[in-house]
Amino acid sequence: MKDWAFTTTIEEMEAATNSLLETAQKVGADTWQQRVKNQTPHCGFGESGTCCRICSMGPCRITKKSPRGICGCDVHGIVGRNFLMFTAGGAATHSDHGREIMHTLYQTHEGGNYQVKDPEKLIRIAKEWGVETEGKDIYDLAHEMAEIGLLEYGKPFGTQRFLKRAPEHTQKLWADAGIEPRAIDREVSTAMHMTHMGCSSLPEALVHQALRAGLSDGWGGSMMGTEFSDVMFGTPKPIDTTANIGVMEKDNVNIVVHGHDPSLSEMIVYYANDPEMIAYAKTMGAKGITVSGVCCTSNEVAMRHGIPMAGNYLNQENVVLTGACEAIVVDVQCIFPALGPLSKCFHTKFITTSPIARIPDSEFIQFSAKTAGDNAKAIVKMAIENFKNRKPELVNIPNLKQNARVGYSVEAIVKVLDGVANSQVDEFGTTKPLLECVTSGVLRGAVAMVGCNNPKVRPDSAHIGLMKKMLENDIIVITTGCAAQAAAKAGLMDPEKAKEYCGAGLKRVCELAGIPPVLHMGSCVDISRMLILAAELSKDSGIPISQLPVVGCAPEWMSEKAVSIGNYVVATGIETFLGVDPYVKGSTEICELLTGEHGVKDWVEAKYVVDTDIESLGDKMIACIEAKRAALGI
């Protein structure tokens, strides 16, 4: 193991957190660290997925003595139903995010709060969907596309439009397995229907629908969320930013954005940069305004505007504990209800904005596309006016900060690859240079590292440890979500320094292409970008996705969305490695279906691998990549 001398270590991050926890103690605040202790040990039935409470005859818990529930359902049916419900929750959530984006797209107009910033991309997708674009006003087209996109959620017949983006081989697997997702809402409803009392208890059927519901998310709702966010806010391209708690500025008004939907944060960023607002902040005794982010909203604005990333999921309380956060503004998903009482211990304004995420002890300012500008301006103003209420004795911003280059959309990656292509021999606009690096052995493969933080894993240790291990072995890492922020916080996205510790092959690639060895592809909804990249690699090489030396990994995942993601990644043909068990270990049959050689693998040519020993998980990923190489003879 190399020393990675310049990186910020887990120990340093923990020391910073500990210094903030001292403040928490001082003000009597509750923190997740304490709540984990209170909740431990966790319920063994819940953890193994063997508790059923979908009707009021129970709850039923499966033990050796009581192997069936009151209705007679066995452990495999119970675990399978729980797994499918978990998936449906995630698919619904991601897809509803996408739906919100489509509604916002419908509200775009010239000079409005929301506009079309990447008309070329809109036209490209319109052509893909067979929509006439010639001579059409761009906003008319945007509205038409929004309606068509929204119909993807409820159309009575047919399957998802974006499935055509997959390689033919993959499309055929889906058709043969009968898992091509239909209307998005239907797949979620079907899942909920199947798991209702007295419906499905056949493990294959439950897992089958889990894949299908997952695909409706990845190739449906999430992909629309990503693609049309790009249309409205611009397709990300490489941009330099900073990461970790030290990005908050002591002398500035600090506004932290948190959540997932960029519609809100885009507006906040816009008004925080308004000279009028900056001048106002100065009259209030601040030097300026710093917007930073937590979680995926942070990823969205970092990718498009270089807004610094204060932290990931389990850092959300830390930003308040600095005592220097004037406002934490949230939209949807992954927001701790704990922020309500916590903010009361400080001067921090906790502002909720979405009817989807209503939380006690917050100020609710309902955000809508029509009033977005005014809403954002009011929020920024509120934060500025709150600056004077800071308690200086509580201010502690740990000095941890790293440089990061982010913004690697598929379009940006292809552009980078064009930069190393040779105009005398190569065609441009393909992934072929990357494939050549892989087939020649310069790169051994790629890992898509995604997911959350989870107190069951020492926060960020699995992300950072595994990434370093991959980089040393010439495996390039693409990443999204809180995993991406872990990399940025550690310094693994530093465009100058990070390559020094990589294997010789990856180092050379980084030098020639001018990239960091870990590529930030966006928020968790942007895992759809990874699907598109995998599809392009497969089409450009003629090799099925499942045979490419590419694997997925979520070592610290925690949410329902993550299970939905796992399902669509596996269903796309990418072996997926988990560091936290998805509540299925109670059923040998479900485990066999998900992780065995003849379960989902027979349908989609990929499976799950679960190993809570992170070192061993990493070894298995490398072995999987090398085995795929050997099978290809490269």
Binding site: L417, V420, A421, N422, S423, Q424, V425, D426, P433, E436, C437, T439, S440, G441, V442, R444, N473, D474, G503, A504, G505, R508, E511, L512, E626, G633, I634
Partner: protein, 710 residues
Amino acid sequence: MTLFERVFGGNDAVYGLTEAAIDSAIAQHGADHAVSFPGTAYSLPCYYGVTGVKVETLGQLKEALGVVKTLMTRENRLHDAFMSGVATALCAEFIEVLKYMDGAEPYAAPCYGHLPDAVVRSLGVPLVTGDIPGVPVILGTAPSADEAVALVKSYQAQGMLVTLVGGIIDQLEEKGYKTGAELRVIPLGKDVTSVIHVVSVAIRAALIFGNIQPGDAAGLMKYTFERVPAFVNAFAPLDDVIVACGAGAIALGFPVVSNETENMFRVPKSLIQQLDISKWNATSLEARDIKIKITNIDIPVAFASAFEGEIIRRGDMQVEVDGSRVDCFELVQTREASDVEDHKIVVDGPEIDEIPVGSKISLSYTVEVAGKAMQPDFESVMERKIHSWINCIEGVMHTGQRDMIRIRISKADFEAGFKFKHLGEVLYAKVKSEFEAVVDKCQVTIVVDAEKNAKLRAAANEVFDKRDARLASMTDESVEQYYTCIMCQAFSPSHVCIVTPERLGLCGAVSWLDAKATKELDPAGPCQPILKEGCLDEKLGRYTTVDEAVNKYSHGALEHVTLYSLFQDPMTSCGCFECICGVEPVSMGVVITCREHAGTTPLGMTFSEMASMTGGGVQTPGFMGHGKHFIASHKFIAAEGGPGRIVWMPKMLKDQMRERLDKTALEMYGVENFTDMIADETVCTDDPEQLMNYLSEVGHPVLSMEPFDM
């Protein structure tokens, strides 16, 4: 078979051959038998660079092979493939050095084999200035001799330094294509192992210019990757050995372009398949990010720096402009803008087609320039470039300067339609492109009339005399500011030259006026003014502003530099110095030798060995690189007593410096004919006793000087 398997296989094969060759040499000569390359202070440069260990005997060579074996790891990672490539290169070096045992000369013309240090040092300046934009290494046999010629010619026309290995050498010979270092086409050898001789140049560049410490393999590879613009063109078929060599080249950062398709892989910017040989040039340039400066000049023959060394023999000559016999001169003059008509080229007198073949003629050209930022001081800077510009014309040779020029125009050029007016076109184009920041308008008048030239020459000489008077009056004391020169930082990242009127850059190419002009031409460029303020010690030439400048421009690597001392914080070198001086402890004098002199000095060291003591931006008290003209300055090691300390110089250098040095010595010490008191190789080579005897015999002034305060 995977790419790595091919590399490993090729490496194993070469290792086997090397082991057998060394074992057989030991069996024949014994382990204590000496091995070395001629003309280098860097032992086996590649092995020395990678490991920091010098190999002197066959026994040590065998031990070194053991070290090479440790590089040959076999994990399926690029690191292992790179190191196996490096191991293959080192084996090639071992095989090659065995050829040089007992002073053998294994390479016969046209092949060069090993290239001495002096060649490496001479490449520094042209490589940084982009005069040599790249170094193609062409390996193997082209599909046809015509394609071989076309490829080499395409690079040559861009000014590249072309090196050749293998069958292509015979293909060029077969076509009667001229090769040689002066034409920048260097056949290395016909065995694939001879490719090591160009790798050895790249490695020594890192050691000499980059101050890379021998043994710092990672630093070495970073240096060559970032700073040596070499690339490989390899003709099919490529066997595993060549693939392994290719891995070594790519490890050093040199991309490989090949037409091989069998069992081959592609790696972006590193291993490129190009089936169309006519596109190798463009493909390679793009892969190595080499940009060619293009000056389009409207003349009927080629114009490229590769033609600079071309010699036109009497028999090939159409006409000769001979300044030694008839009135000729070249002159640049500053005029008012209203007096210059841009791009006006006048030929006053007969054109070349009106003159009988073989004539020696009187010809002059006056380049008149105007520009808001133009200063008369720049006239001589431009004038000095004329030599190189005219020489770059294919089929034209130029020597000398001012009123002592000689120009030969070849018959081939005459047949191609070359006229005197084309000399004007070249002068116009080059002045306008290279001095665009100061020259707004430029016209050229060529006079081919002996009577007119007699008068014009007299007038020109008045200009030259005035300029000389100005130059002579220009001392370190007479100016307000000095200049930095960090042109070489592309190669030597921590070296900074301080250029003063009396101390020109150590490469000999940048005088104070050049630096001043460079600042004008490129305001944010390598030459920045240093105000002459904060003098701490006049004798040493120690200034706070100079210290601040070296600290800033060496990025903190250097804190103090004096202008006139050999011992107290002497000025550093990039490595491409013309001369090096070193202390001779017996006489308490200094020995100076120059790049052209291959022999040893009374220090027991050759130029290469002395040069290896310094360079790369490090300070080595007692050793200092410098330009030739500095020798005759009053300021030359003034802190230690001045040029009167010089006790030994090569005869050639003495002859070059005699006039000015004698004058300086007369002024400083009241000694006549000082240069004759300096010993040279005809007096002694490496025996200090002989040197002392000579110095006593002639009454050298050093004998009455105080010992050095070392």
